[in-house]
C-alpha cells in the first residue's frame, strides 16, 4: 500500500496525505454548483473549493440541509452547525426523492473501500457476504447518490489492487455500465463515478459507458507504478499530466481557517 504522507511541497512545506488529497479534490469542483457532500475529506475539499475555485457551490446533505452556511466545521452530515443559518431543511422525501432522484445534484462526493474498472463502488463487505472479513458501513445514501447525481467523485486513501480489484467483493453502488449489462432499459440517469482521486493519481471516466483511465499522476509518481497498484489492466489517457502541488494558500486555508482543530487533518 502506498500513501502520500508528510511529503515536502514546493515551498518546503511538509504536506500530509490528507491535505494533498483534499486540495486535489477541491480543484475537481471548479465550475460545479450543487454538491452532495459526505463527511471527512469531502468536508475539507468542499470548504477549500468554496474559498478558491468554486465560490458558488451550494452544499446539499443527505440529512435534508440545502444551502448550508456552517459557522464551524461540520463533524457529520447531520451536524447542528449545518442547520443553523441554512437556506432550507427539507424532509427526506424532498431530499432523496425530489432533490437527488429528481436530478438536482451536480456532484456526489463519496468514499469507497473498493472501486472497479467501471467506477462501481463497494462500501459493504470485504470477503464473503455471509461471513465477511470486514463489515463496512454499507450503502447509507451511496446506492441512491451514484445512480442519480449528475456525476460522482470518489476519494480513496489507498491505491493498491485490494482497493482497485479486478472484481468487487460486493457492488453497493453500480456504474451505469453494470446497470446496462443487467438490463439495457434500466440505466440510471447519472454518469456514475467520473473521477477517482487516490494517493497516487487521478483516474477519470470521460465516457458514461467507458472505463476509468489514468489521467493525472501526483508529483514523483510514475505511470507504471499506478498501473501496478491497480488490480486490472488500467488504461492510460493520451495526455497524462502531473498533479500540481497544493499552493501555500491552500495549505494555509486548510490549517488556519478550515480545520483549525485538526479533526480531519491528522
Amino acid at each position: 500500500m502506498i500513501t502520500r504522507t508528510n511529503e515536502l511541497g514546493p515551498a518546503g512545506i511538509t504536506i500530509s496525505s490528507t491535505e494533498f488529497l483534499a486540495t486535489v479534490a477541491a480543484r475537481e469542483l471548479a465550475g460545479k454548483h450543487r454538491v452532495f457532500a459526505g463527511v471527512g475529506l469531502p468536508t475539507l475539499a468542499v470548504d477549500l473549493a468554496m474559498r478558491t475555485v468554486a465560490p458558488d457551490i451550494q452544499l446539499v446533505y443527505e440529512s435534508g440541509v440545502c444551502g448550508a452556511h456552517p459557522e464551524g466545521m461540520a463533524e457529520g452530515i447531520a451536524d447542528s452547525v449545518l442547520v443553523s443559518g441554512a437556506e432550507a431543511v427539507v424532509n427526506m422525501q424532498a431530499l432523496f426523492g425530489y432533490v437527488l432522484q429528481g436530478g438536482h445534484v451536480d456532484v456526489g462526493f463519496l468514499g469507497a473501500a473498493q472501486v472497479d474498472r467501471w467506477g462501481s463502488l463497494n462500501t459493504s463487505f470485504i470477503g464473503d457476504w455471509e461471513s465477511p472479513t470486514v463489515r463496512l458501513p454499507g450503502s447509507g445514501g451511496a446506492a441512491d447518490i451514484v445512480p442519480n447525481a449528475r456525476e460522482c467523485i470518489t476519494v480513496l486513501r489507498r491505491h493498491d489492487p485490494g482497493a482497485f480489484p479486478a472484481a468487487l467483493d460486493f457492488c453497493t453502488s453500480p456504474s451505469p455500465v453494470r446497470a446496462r449489462d443487467l438490463d439495457p432499459r434500466a440505466v440510471p440517469p447519472g454518469h456514475g463515478v467520473s473521477t477517482v482521486i487516490t494517493p497516487l493519481a487521478v483516474l477519470r471516466r470521460p465516457d458514461r459507458f467507458g472505463e476509468l483511465q489514468l489521467a493525472q499522476v501526483h508529483p514523483g509518481v510514475q505511470i507504471d507504478q499506478v498501473r501496478e497498484a491497480t488490480g486490472w489492466d488500467l488504461a492510460v489517457a493520451a495526455d497524462v499530466v502531473e498533479t500540481p502541488w497544493p499552493t501555500e494558500e491552500d495549505v494555509r486555508l486548510l490549517r488556519e481557517e478550515i480545520d483549525t482543530v485538526r479533526l480531519y487533518l491528522r
Binding site: 447542528s80 432550507a88 429528481g102
Partner: protein, 307 residues
C-alpha cells in the same frame, strides 16, 4: 454566492410560458397565483394544458380568455363548491369551444406531481378500485404487487413545462417560505422544468436563514422570484390577507353569463397593466374588508455552536 433571480412578472411569464405548454398553477384554496394567471391571459398565451387540482376561478378565467386547450384536474368547482360555469359550458355543450379534460382524484393529481418530482414513472395509491375513473381515464393503470397482494392502481408522472406558485415570502435567490396550507406547492415545483414564484414579500437572506425549516421550495428548484403583493387575491395569503368571499360568491353570476365574464376579463385583466393597478381598481375599502389581525407564531431556537 447564488444567483439572484428577482424578475418582473411580465418578464418572467414572457420568458418561461409559451403557447402549447403544459402549465401548472397550484395552491390549494390558499395562495392561488391569480396575478400570474392574469398575466398569462394578458400576454395572450394559447393552447395551454392547464394543471390544477382545484381549478377554481382562475381556471374559469383563463379558459374563458381562450388560453387553455386542456384541463388536468381533480375538482371542477370553486373552493366553496360553486360551479365554474365557463368550465361547465365547455364540457356540457362545447360552448364556445370544447375543452379537453383529464380527471383524477385529489390524491391522484398530487401523486402525479410527486412521481414527476421524484423522477419516477408513476405513483401508487389505494383509491380507484371499483371506480369508473380509470375507465374514463385510461392513464390510471395498475401494477402487480410483487409481494403477493392485489394489483394496485397507479397514476403517471405529470411534469409541467412551467409551474407558477404564490408564496408569502422568498429571498432573492428563490428560497421560498410558506406557512398555513402548503398544498402541492413543493411537489409541483420539483415536478416542473421551470418554476416561477410570485411572493407577498422578498425578504433579506437572513430572514429565510433564521428559520430554514420554513423553506418549502429551496432556491435550486426556482427560476424566477417575482414580488407581487396581493398576488393571490381573491384567494388568500395566511397572515397577509383573507379570502375575498364576496368575490367568490359574486363569481357565480359573472361566470354564468358569458358576456358578463368577457366584460369582467376586459375590465379586470386586459385593461389593467399589472397587479398594482388591479388592487387600486379593487379599492382600499374592499381590500380593508379582507385584512386580518395579528396572530404570531412564537419563535423557536435553532442554537449556535458555542466554541
Amino acid at each position: 454566492m447564488s444567483e439572484v433571480k428577482v424578475r418582473g412578472l411580465s418578464e418572467a411569464i414572457a420568458e418561461h410560458v409559451e403557447d402549447g405548454m403544459t402549465v401548472a398553477l397550484e395552491g390549494f384554496g390558499h395562495l392561488i397565483p391569480f396575478a400570474a394567471g392574469h398575466e398569462i391571459i394578458r400576454q395572450g398565451r394559447k393552447d395551454l394544458t392547464l394543471c390544477r387540482m382545484t381549478p377554481d376561478l382562475i381556471a374559469d378565467q383563463m379558459i374563458a380568455a381562450g388560453c387553455v386547450r386542456k384541463l388536468i384536474a381533480s375538482f371542477f368547482a370553486s373552493g366553496s363548491a360553486g360551479s365554474l360555469h365557463e368550465v361547465r359550458r365547455r364540457i356540457e355543450r362545447s360552448d364556445p369551444e370544447p375543452l379537453e379534460v383529464e380527471e383524477y382524484s385529489h390524491y391522484g393529481m398530487y401523486g402525479r406531481y410527486q412521481a414527476a418530482a421524484a423522477g419516477l414513472p408513476f405513483f401508487p395509491l389505494k383509491s380507484y378500485a371499483g371506480s369508473d375513473l380509470p375507465t374514463l381515464n385510461p392513464r390510471i393503470r395498475k401494477v402487480e404487487d410483487p409481494y403477493g397482494g392485489p394489483d394496485i392502481h397507479v397514476v403517471p408522472a405529470l411534469a409541467p413545462d412551467v409551474t407558477v406558485v404564490h408564496a408569502q415570502r422568498a429571498d432573492r435567490f428563490g428560497n421560498v417560505q410558506v406557512w398555513g396550507i402548503v398544498g402541492a406547492i413543493q411537489e409541483v415545483a420539483y415536478a416542473a422544468k421551470k418554476v416561477i414564484v410570485t411572493v407577498e414579500e422578498i425578504v433579506d437572506d437572513e430572514v429565510v436563514r433564521s428559520d430554514p425549516n420554513r423553506t418549502l421550495v429551496p432556491a435550486h428548484a426556482v427560476d424566477a422570484v417575482v414580488h407581487v403583493p396581493g398576488g393571490a387575491h381573491p384567494s388568500y395569503a395566511q397572515g397577509h390577507y383573507d379570502r375575498d368571499n364576496v368575490f367568490y360568491r359574486d363569481w357565480t353570476a359573472i361566470s354564468k353569463d358569458p358576456q358578463l365574464l368577457r366584460s369582467w376579463l376586459q375590465e379586470w385583466v386586459h385593461d389593467l397593466p399589472d397587479r398594482a393597478a388591479y388592487l387600486e381598481h379593487l379599492g382600499e375599502q374592499r381590500w380593508q374588508d379582507n385584512t386580518v389581525g395579528e396572530r404570531l407564531s412564537g419563535q423557536v431556537d435553532y442554537g449556535r455552536r458555542s466554541s
